[in-house]
Symmetry: C2
Subunit: 168 residues, 2 copies
């Protein structure tokens, strides 16, 4: 553990922890205060979609850090559990980390959400989410670029928009 950094500082309370296969380390909606360094074993993090289907965000074997990438103390989007009996080092997210560190964490959080969306949500949901999240960008770029960002063709986006209009 020589590599504790500004965001993640060693949690003196928790430290090393033995976890059994199947044990849940973090639940969606809980305040996310920790990350987990995997010393031995295998963890995974995953999100549930609206149908209750699991979407694995990442696996973490020896040497990896598994975390929900939200700011310290924010509600997490992910579950974290053990796929094997494991030894993990619990690391506290540092709420007083430099603001740049928090920005980087937020940056990762955006990517995390995007991955989950690409895996779990249909194009129309991704489009609506984009509309809500980046209202300023929409005015400034052609549709085909929004399609490119969403991972669909311009034709498909046009069709989706047509269907949205029809319903109104």
């Amino acid at each position: 553990m020589e590599n504790v950094n500004d965001i993640l500082s060693l949690d003196s309370k928790a430290g090393t922890k033995q976890v059994k296969k199947g044990e849940i380390l973090q639940k969606e909606g809980e305040l996310s205060t920790s990350a987990f360094y995997v010393k031995k074993g295998l963890l995974r993090s995953y999100a549930l979609d609206h149908k209750g289907k699991e979407h694995i965000f990442m696996f973490g074997s020896e040497g990896w850090i598994v975390a929900d990438n939200v700011a310290p103390g924010e509600k997490g989007d992910l579950f974290i559990d053990a796929l094997e009996d494991s030894i993990v080092i619990q690391i506290s997210k540092n709420p007083t980390a430099p603001s740049d560190m928090l920005k980087i964490l937020k940056r990762i959080g955006v990517l995390q959400k995007r991955i989950i969306m690409l895996m779990s949500a249909p194009a129309i949901d991704r489009y609506n989410h984009f509309l809500e999240t980046y209202p300023d960008i929409i005015q400034r770029v052609p549709q085909k670029m929004i399609a490119s960002y969403l991972g669909i063709t311009p034709q498909a986006l046009s069709t989706l928009r047509g269907e949205i209009n029809k319903k109104k």
Copy 2:
């Protein structure tokens, strides 16, 4: 620019820069030494797939930082260009950043690749990529979890594997 941090330090050579709409700031395959803070205007980063189709990784308007998330000096995977006339602050990636910082950057890089793959590559390519990248994980988790990570159903993965075997 009060928020320069350990990974990104102000580049005294370059500093503030005016870029015209359409101007390319970074090309795929070039050594990625800089990130770009957008003071005014709009940038985007994108990847090209094997068919030459563009897949936009992110937009960056005022206040955002657009970067190719690879270690300082590594070859980039992305193009970065200006969608509007812009004023950007060029920021040098610091090759002597603490190793933890580089690890975080690498972490973001993994997510970046995953997003590009989810948008541009069919399930079978994502599966093969996973096989190459995480050979250890495959031995340790059931197929249905790999399917979940890839963003497809276990049935679809089984079918893909069946087709791979047939070809051999």
